[in-house]
Every structure is written in C-alpha cells, then in structure tokens.
C-alpha cells in the first residue's frame, strides 16, 4: 500500500466518523434549532414587519422599534428594569456572600443551615409570589401588618406605593434565590485551605483581616461572574410583577419583558412590537455580556 492510499483510507474513515458524529447530534441540533435559534431569528425578522395576528403583513423596517420606543410605557419599563437591577444589586448581591460566610463559620450545624438556605430555591416561583402577596397585603389581615401590629405599628400599605413595589419584588426574588447562590460561594470558599487562615492567624491577622485579605479575594472572580448572571436574570423579570402587581401602580413595576408579554398576549396581539421589545432586551443583554467578557479578559491578563 502506498502512502497516499493509507492517507485516503484514513481520511475516508475520518469522514465517516465525522458524519456519524454529526448524525448523533442531529436530533438535538434540530431541537436547538426549533426551540432556541430559529425563534430568536424569527423575533428579529418579525420585529421588522407589521403583523396581524400570526401573519406578517408587510415589511416596515424599524417602525415597530420607533413606535415602541417612543411610548411612555417603554421608557417607564426600561427605567423600571434598571431600577430592578439596581435594587437587586443592593439587596441581593452581597447577601449571598454574607450568608456563605456565616454558614461557612458554623460547625456541626453547617449541613442543616445549608439545607435550609437552599430550600426556598426549590419552590415553584409562581407559588412563591402568590404566597408572598399575602405578606404585603395592605389589609389588617396582611401578614406583615399582623407582625407590625404586635409592636404597635398601624397597618401600612405596600404594593400601592410606587416607590416600594420594585424593592418588594426584589426582596421576594432574593428570598427565593439568595440561599442557592450562597451555596455556590460556599463551594468556592471551601477551596481556600484552612492552613492559609492558620498561617495568617499566627502572623497576627484578626478574623476580619483574614476575611478581607484571604476569603474575599478567593471569590472575587466568582463574584464577577455571578454579578453578570444576576443582572441577566433580573433583566428577564416578568411573571413576578405580572402576578403580584400587574405592573402597577401606574406602571411603576412594569418590566421590559412584561411589556413584551403584554404586546403579544395582553389583548392587542401585536407580535411585531412584542418582538421588537424582545430584540431590544436581547441587545442589552448581549452588550452586557460583551462588557463582562472584556473585563474578564482584562482581569485574566493581569493575573
């Protein structure tokens, strides 16, 4: 056998191997195409059309975008979405770190606290929202008002206050998610060898100094990643305000994704405009991801 023949046979086998591999992936790829990629592409396409129900009527360029972005409710929803992000960072970003630290410090009961911290994350999000709606009821029978009355505070209103609704929704989301995030931090913190603390302690570092100089640096990169993940997930907030406040009062809790849902399924059935909103959200998320990966790279190059 000559050299070239072997090569050809090998490449033939390689080709067969390759095509078999693709064949194995084919069903999954079709699903990906149908459920993820094509709809995304379709969103972009539909956003450029005037739609009537499920039909594309005619190409209208960026008219949907212009119309959507020119409306007050879009501006409001955009600002609200940033407000959600802001509050989520204030309330929900550092809390998991603190939880991870305090649970990490406990000894025998660590397993129990870990379990308890994770539990709310297993509950269906919708059930959680409905359950918490009773806590924030403004009636005397609202759970928070009952609790407040035991310390002599008169009943308060919550969900009718424009400036409170977003923090309230974030508190609920944090209640559900913070424990699970804390466990991720714990896993990362566990990577720090106890000897390091031991050595630092011998050098005279106080507990807080050890936290500041050893523990926190060990999770810095993870914090960066979780920060971007949190922002991305807050940007998708939708059913929480939909169920709890219906976007009110006076659109004070309307989110971008909720606006998209309203355009599509809220009675006007304007799928073109709904898609325009979806594409705008996608764009914002992509930009954020790019910024993150840019800083990520920069940081890695420093290390």
């Amino acid at each position: 056998m000559s050299q070239t023949k072997v090569m050809r046979k090998l490449s033939g086998a390689r080709f067969a191997e390759n095509s078999k591999a693709w064949l194995i992936m084919l069903p999954s790829l079709i699903l990906m195409l149908f459920f993820v990629w094509e709809p995304l592409f379709e969103s972009v396409r539909m956003s450029l059309y005037k739609t009537r129900n499920v039909e594309l009527v005619r190409y209208i360029g960026f008219d949907n975008y212009i119309s959507v972005m020119g409306k007050d409710d879009f501006i409001q929803a955009l600002l609200n979405t940033f407000s959600y992000t802001f509050w989520s960072l204030i309330i929900g970003f550092l809390l998991p770190v603190v939880l991870a630290m305090i649970i990490g410090e406990t000894r025998r009961s660590k397993g129990i606290f870990r379990t308890i911290a994770y539990l709310p994350n297993m509950l269906p999000g919708l059930a959680v929202i409905i359950l918490w709606s009773s806590f924030f009821s403004a009636e005397k029978s609202g759970v928070l008002n009952i609790l407040l009355s035991t310390i002599g505070v008169s009943p308060q209103t919550y969900l009718t206050r424009a400036e409170w609704v977003i923090p309230i929704i974030i508190i609920i989301a944090t209640w559900k998610g913070a424990g699970a995030t804390a466990l991720i931090y714990m896993a990362s913190m566990a990577g720090v060898s106890p000897e390091l603390y031991e050595a630092a302690a011998i050098d005279g570092a106080t507990v807080l100094q050890r936290v500041w100089h050893i523990l926190l640096p060990s999770i810095r990169k993870l914090m960066g990643t979780l920060l971007i993940l949190q922002i991305i997930s807050v940007f998708q907030i939708m059913y929480e305000p939909m169920v709890l406040t219906k976007g009110g009062p006076d659109n004070a809790s309307l989110s971008l994704m909720q606006l998209m849902w309203q355009y599509a399924f809220g009675g006007s059935m304007n799928y073109g405009k709904a898609s325009a909103v979806a594409v705008i959200v996608t764009g914002i998320l992509l930009v954020m991801t790019l910024i993150h990966s840019y800083f990520d790279r920069k940081e890695s190059s420093w290390d």
Partner: protein, 289 residues
Amino acid sequence: MKKVQRTGVIREYDLHSRSVKVLYGFVLFLCLVMTVIALFPLIWVCLAGFKDLKEFVSSTSLLPSDFNFGMFTTTWDQLGIAKNYLNSLFSVAGSVVCAIVFNGLLGYGLGILKPKGYGVVKKLVMLSLLLPTTISIVPLFMNIQKLGLGNSFLPLWLSFGANAMYVVLFIQFFESLPHSIIEAARIDGANQLQTFFSIVLPLSKPICTVIAIFAVNAAWSDFLLPYLVLRGGQLQTVMVRLFVFSTEQTVNADTMMRSVVFSMIPPIILFFIFQKQLTENAVSVGIKG
C-alpha cells in the same frame, strides 16, 4: 463525641478571645435569623390553608381558629387537583428523559466526539446560554401553533431537550472523563452510539442525577410556555392551573393558598430526598437551579 474540624476563617484557638466569641455568637444568631426568614413563609402558608375565606380575609391572627384538614381535602377534590398532579407527573417525566437524552447526546458530540466543525456549534450553544427562552416565546409559540402541536405535551417535553445550560454541563463533565476508557470501547468495536449508552452514560451518573433534579424542578415549576401550549384544556399541569387561578380569578383567596401548598409539596419532597446531591454536587458544578 467526634470532634468536628473547623474549616472557616475563625480558627479553634480564636475562640479564646472574648471578642471573637461574641462574633461567633453573632454568626450563629444570624444563621438562626436566616432559618426563621427562610421557613416562616412556608409554615405560614400551611397554617393559612386551614382558614376559610372570611377568616383568611379578616382575621388578624397568624394561627387558624381550628385545624380542620377537611379544608385541604375539599379543595383537593373540588378542584380535581389529582388530575393536575398526574398531568404534571407526565409532563415532568417526558421532560427529564428528553433533557438527559438530547442534551447528553449533544454534549457527547461536542465534548468527546468533536467532529470537524464542532467549534461553531459549541459557540452557538454557549451564546444561547445567555439568552433565556422566554425572550423568544412569541415566535416559539407561533411555530408550535403552526405545526398543530398545541394542547399536547410533546412540545413541552422536547423543549427540555434543547437546553443550553444542560448541554454545557454535560460537555464540562464529559471533558473530564478519562479518554482511555472511551478509546478502549472504540477498539472493542463499539460504535459511537453504543459507546454513549454503554460506557459514557453509566459513568455520568453524578451529572445525570443533577440534571435530572434540575429538570424535574424546572418542568414542575414552568408555567408560561405550558400555559400557552396547554391553554384551558384537559392537560393543564398544577402550575398552569395555579397561573390560571391567579389571572382568571376563578377561585377564592383561601383556596388559592391551599393550591399553593399543593404545588409546593412535590418539590419539597424531592428536595428532602435529594438534598445531599443538591447542596453538595449541584453546587460543585457551580450553578443554581
């Protein structure tokens, strides 16, 4: 009694210092506060389930006036929740199978087989990781309608077979598998598909367990796409039902609270069975459900 080794920042001999002792006490106190905050709403909703409408709306006591389990059984029967449980079970079972088989196969292709040109697909998968499916729910729903797949579980099952996060988890895990075992199977004459089912999958029990738990939980909790696909029909799952209750106001507030309790029971049971895998394994893969 076995001495538990302390792993945290506070070292054993720190506790000799008075201020550190106070600090440690404070840490324990915070853990207790966390426990109360995490559990109180759950306990409350169970208690609230014992109240009737008038009491639920008017009573300023956290405790119900009496513990009548009949309230729960009445709601269960009246709303026919058993049927919704079955629907949910059916929907969850298919979703888990799809989640493991299809994402597993794609992960196998991208993580082990790596045929020519796989890099592009891998990048696409990574990119879709960042974009939630809810964002394109409108065209997806239209596609499902066009194919006449409305009012069936099929699109819901298959949608779990196209989950970028699960694929990435599989890829990560497969890449960590020792290559020699897979090569050995190859030399023994097993084809690629056989290798997957006889060698790779059995080795992947930990990741399959984690993904199965995530998929069970996600399929159980999901209600937006199921609501659009299953609409008001006979196939409604527990969560779709709850969503319909909350938007269409067909049930009273007290019944709603009992429905919430019913919707939480299976995930809580699942949680207690698999809590070790969840709080240890799941976390070690660095994601949350």
